[in-house]
Symmetry: C2
Subunit: 693 residues, 2 copies
């Protein structure tokens, strides 16, 4: 879809332009005129001949010239007719500002879908409905009912909440931050986040999003992995909790999906997720102002011990370190600093430091090759020269490629200094921990960018399903079954080299005892039935069977359960009971937004208790599979913690990759759950398994 008429319009029609300044249509027209938009503007209003000094038209059809963009701001019942006119007129793009569609329930949803289908058929990009509009400062375009045209800059911000968008613009104004594009997505009937990820705008240095849902997760991942090679992508996406998801649904009709999977997918695709609105603001500012962080060694320069300790504390969890200052740097520092100061990192200039001391310390530390970035801390003490210090920081920041971040802690005294820094595009925050967190996320981006450049994201392989297994799955599905039976899943999972304990089907108490003797005690007796998914919870597993009496009794019990399960293909079987080893869980789940997700971690009775699992979106590379396993806590045990037995982790990684392939090959499978699965010698043996279709 060609977005050019939307983002570079030469002519705009405002359907719903009005003389009543309270009307949204009037506000949009006013914004377009006030922002000195250079193209043509056509107010559309059947009841007026001129509005705000411009000739007005009955409808878009009455305009004889081409219309690149039609903005619809009329009551909901009239929107559909306006769309018909726009399609007839062949406008280049449409924005529907009007609300009252998907977010209000079934009827609104139907109407919205209808409009979306018409626009798609006519190949017209549609932004909204229920949105604020679009703003592109570079071409003086304020096609929104937001109050202000922000300054031109390098931030592209795409928001599913128009109101939050206005807050971001207002904040940006105060922080000397400009925009290459601002778009409000609203209900995303046609255009969504992915269309804006596709835009390559050379003026954009950072692409930020506020999203309540992601429409096509896999496309979002593909596009993000590509864009992140050159441009950091920031995302604030609330909806971690059920209550928040409900609120989102009534806001933009968003269906947020499972949040942990979204987090995994976003991280895998190189997207930096902001945890709070404040962090989003902090990160937009950081990526807009700063070029690159090339390492994680941070020098701190301070006039106050306390705040430098706070900053030092925050470094570790941000993945950063204090810089080991060279002997040269230390001896240089000692020439300029009084005896009581600290010439190691954090460099403490002590409380009576004037601006000159900051300048000299910056000189020395910037030259040190082991320093990747500098945090300058300042508290307003009696001798502190706040503005002059700010000026020196600005001078240094202009003459270095290393990020310099200032944190001036206080209130009215430090305000001017902070303002001066912002005005000169020097990154500054009120709190030391903010500065550290931002550097940590810059470093996180650098690493994600590298992974993306090395194409370690979403390998593009082709998957050839085994025809027999494909048939097996198709047959099960076509007979309306929702799961595979034990024999079928053992056959299918042989593709992943998953082994199962040998089982002996038994038909009577006597026959069971006969087989048990052959296996050797203890044995375990189970039911195989696709109607019984949670075997243990259903009483379909009996452990620790040694003698004939126990075995006869157990057979009787299971026979009753089997009968109640109404599965003519079900049967009872025996297995040798294995000694209790390390129990893992290995699984796959198909997420509606992001597709197949692979899971590995601690299994057995510990699964729910420790929730020690790692997830990743398939398909996976080997290094991803390895990273995934390594990120679980149980990996330490597998790897032989405390001089215990070391397990063959290669076998597990291979199983992860093969399960990933399986998920990609057979779209019929909805879920695979191997729990517990244990390692015996060099085999992965599943003690319980289910495959859901």
């Amino acid at each position: 879809m060609d977005l050019k008429p939307l983002i570079r319009p030469q002519s705009i029609a405002i359907i719903g332009a009005s003389r009543d300044s309270q009307k949204i249509g009037a506000q949009i027209l006013n914004n377009l005129i006030r922002s000195n938009f250079m193209g043509k503007i056509y107010p559309i209003n059947p009841k007026a001949s001129a509005i705000q000094g411009l000739a007005s038209y009955q409808s878009v059809i009455a305009v004889s010239e081409t219309i690149d963009l039609a903005i619809i701001a009329i009551p909901q019942p009239f929107v559909q007719d306006a769309i018909k006119d726009c399609i007839q007129k062949k406008v280049g793009s449409i924005i529907i500002i009007t609300a009252g569609f998907k977010e209000t329930g079934e009827q609104g949803k139907k109407l919205e879908q209808d409009i979306a289908n018409q626009c798609k058929k006519a190949n017209i990009p549609l932004l909204g409905p229920n949105c604020l509009g679009i703003i592109i400062p570079q071409i003086n375009l304020n096609a929104s009912f937001g109050t202000q045209l922000p300054k031109t800059g390098n931030v592209s911000f795409v928001s599913q909440s128009g109101a939050f968008g206005t807050a971001v613009i207002d904040w940006a104004q105060n922080n000397n931050i400009g925009f290459s594009l601002f778009a409000s997505l609203g209900n995303k009937a046609v255009l969504n986040e992915n269309h804006f990820l596709e835009l390559t705008n050379p003026n954009t240095k950072v692409q930020a999003f506020y999203l309540e849902d992601i429409v096509d997760g896999r496309r979002f991942m593909e596009l993000s992995s590509e864009l992140t090679k050159t441009t950091p992508i920031l995302l604030l996406k609330p909806g971690r909790t059920k209550k928040a998801q409900e609120a989102a649904k009534s806001h933009t009709g968003a269906l947020a999906g499972q949040d942990d999977i979204a987090s995994t997918a976003l991280s895998q695709a190189g997207v930096l997720r902001a945890n709070t609105s404040e962090e989003l603001f902090d990160l937009i500012k950081a990526f807009s102002f700063i070029k690159e962080l090339n390492g994680n060694k941070i020098a701190i320069i301070t006039n106050a011990g306390g705040p430098s300790i706070m900053a030092t504390d925050a470094l570790e969890s941000a993945g950063l370190q204090l810089a080991p200052l060279s002997d040269k740097t230390q001896s240089d520092l000692s020439q300029y600093l009084p005896r009581e100061s600290n010439i190691h990192d954090p460099v403490d200039l002590i409380g009576d430091a004037k601006a000159e001391r900051y300048k000299n310390a910056l000189d020395c530390v910037l030259k040190d090759q082991s320093v990747d970035a500098i945090i300058v801390l300042l508290t307003p003490q009696t001798s502190t020269e706040i503005e002059l210090t700010a000026k020196y920081i600005i001078d240094h920041a202009k003459n270095t490629t290393k990020p310099i971040i200032a944190s001036f802690i206080g209130g009215s005294h430090v305000e001017k200094g902070l303002k001066l820094l912002s005005q000169n595009n020097v990154l500054s925050y009120q709190f030391p921990e903010q500065a550290v967190n931002v550097l940590g996320r810059l470093w996180e981006y650098k690493q994600k960018q590298q992974i993306a450049i090395n194409n370690h994201i979403i390998p593009n392989l082709s998957y050839v399903p085994n025809p027999a297994h494909n048939k097996l799955l198709d047959q099960a599905k076509s007979s309306n079954r929702t799961s595979l039976n034990q024999d079928e899943l053992e056959e299918l999972l042989s593709e992943c080299n998953i082994k199962f304990p040998a089982k002996k089907r038994v038909t009577s108490p006597e026959n069971a005892w006969q087989n048990a003797k052959e296996l050797g005690a203890p044995v375990v007796m189970k039911i195989a039935s696709s109607n019984i998914l949670h075997k243990s919870d259903s009483g379909a597993v009996i452990l620790n069977l040694y003698d004939q009496e126990q075995i006869s009794e157990s057979f009787g019990q299971l026979q009753k359960i089997l009968k109640n399960s109404n599965d003519p293909n079900g049967y009872i079987y025996l297995q040798k009971q294995l000694p209790k080893g390390l129990e893992l869980i290995l699984g796959m789940k198909r997420d509606p937004v992001f597709g197949p997700v692979i899971l590995i971690g601690s299994g057995g009775i510990y699964t729910e208790v420790y929730k020690d699992t790692a997830e990743m979106i398939a398909p996976l590379t080997k290094s991803q599979g390895q990273k995934m396993l390594e990120s679980t806590k149980i990996y330490n045990i597998l790897n032989g913690a405390r001089s215990q037995q070391k397990y063959n982790t290669e076998v597990i990684i291979q199983a992860i990759l093969k399960l990933s392939n399986l998920a990609m090959s057979y779209s019929q499978i909805k879920e695979i759950d191997l729990n517990p699965i244990t390692i015996i010698n060099d085999d992965l043996v599943a003690l319980d398994a289910r495959v859901i279709l």
Copy 2:
């Protein structure tokens, strides 16, 4: 120690007062005069006869009137003589501003101790050295070299970092926050945080601290548990990481101790620990402005869907809930709000809401008895009336006991509104998540306060040691041993009802085989020696022994290890090998700052991997022991998760309490480590144990 001369001085001498305005002594004198201090001021300077219009004295001894407070601001080498003069003059209190003591190394530390001892002997309270001074706005006292006298108010702030203190004062000025007291502790040679916890100041509504270490942890806990019944205590204490602890040491010579134990102790004593400097600022403001939060049901009123979703998301982890608005409230709301708005919580007034809509919604929601507090969110949209909305919020806040917190998100447009709110003591933050977090911590305080009032903190019991066990421990200590041997610890731990598997001492391979047959296979062979603490790691435990050959061979192996351990009292023994059950860890460690700490959690090979343990400072009440166990993840398994076996948790709680008593009774014990310990029927059986003296 009487602090009255320090906090209510009638007469002050400044030792080091100077005409050179760059000197700290000159700045302090200037501050005292500028702040209109009403008492007498005596500049002390042997080289001047008058300074800043006041008669100057050769020394404090030359002043004929009483001196309540002597402030010393002269170079370090002259401080000791000044102290001598002060003691001779019998001044009421001393502040040493001068730095260069404990924080600089051994020599400085010795000098500081010397001065401290002199002051203690003379019963003179000494603040500092290496500090900023003290400020008490109510009596116009700015006895510091901070630049400004903050306004009178209800915040007491005591800071181990003077510079951070100046930042807090500067910030407070901007946020309409006043102080009942500000003190800079410096190196805490005599006066420390506990002396300020002892002060009962009716003007103080919130007691905040910045501390790098806590001098006497148990006293701090006692005083905090008492004060928290009436006054919330906030603490920012960095030093979570090793690097930050090193930085703290060079700052104020602080030795921070183990951070997780400090966290446990603080929480137990009712102290609210701020996680970042920003959170400390947020909390000081909240507790200074707001009376009480009496429940956790929060109503959100908003003109923007996005921010209300962010707030809703944050509620859960803050321990809060959306308020279930009554039918009455909802029908009232629907009368005032347009059809598209949301009359459930979060109440969405939608984007075109003017101030009137906020006012009406506040009216309705405030009346709802199920609402404990309200968050008002605002984004600057075209129709938004920011200042008028602020005014309505102020009106409502004045006429209710329920907390109302505003979050106006944006920049220049919302600034005036935020300022107006602050000026009228209405709590406001820029970000919705900040507002939620603050309410969560207000609710946390309410609960901690209740526990303190019910005297559930540090029960005051007496502990009677068993004379035989006392003797056993004394003898072990006096023979310079650092641990108990197996027999001794089994005897001692019988006090906690801890059982041990029956052991058979064996003296030869033949004798071992004989005993093994009696126990029944499999057996485990171990060494008992107080020289071998980590049995498994030292190879002093051999499992799974079935036949004579294995047993002979193992005996040989262990004999060698025993020989190398050089313990004439060591021996080899056999135990029946128990089936692998649920493994716990139960332990005690004596922290140098907070005393005995009890620990319970997942044990065995999982100890280090899952770090699933809970700690509490002894002595413990039963409800604390229970809460501790319940806060571990393994509790879910003990409690019969997923219809598995349910364990007798009462036995574990009893053992926790008895271990707590043991720790209180025998100060000789440094550490007890029972890991793994398992539950067999109704017994706790320790499979490995050590007691360190």
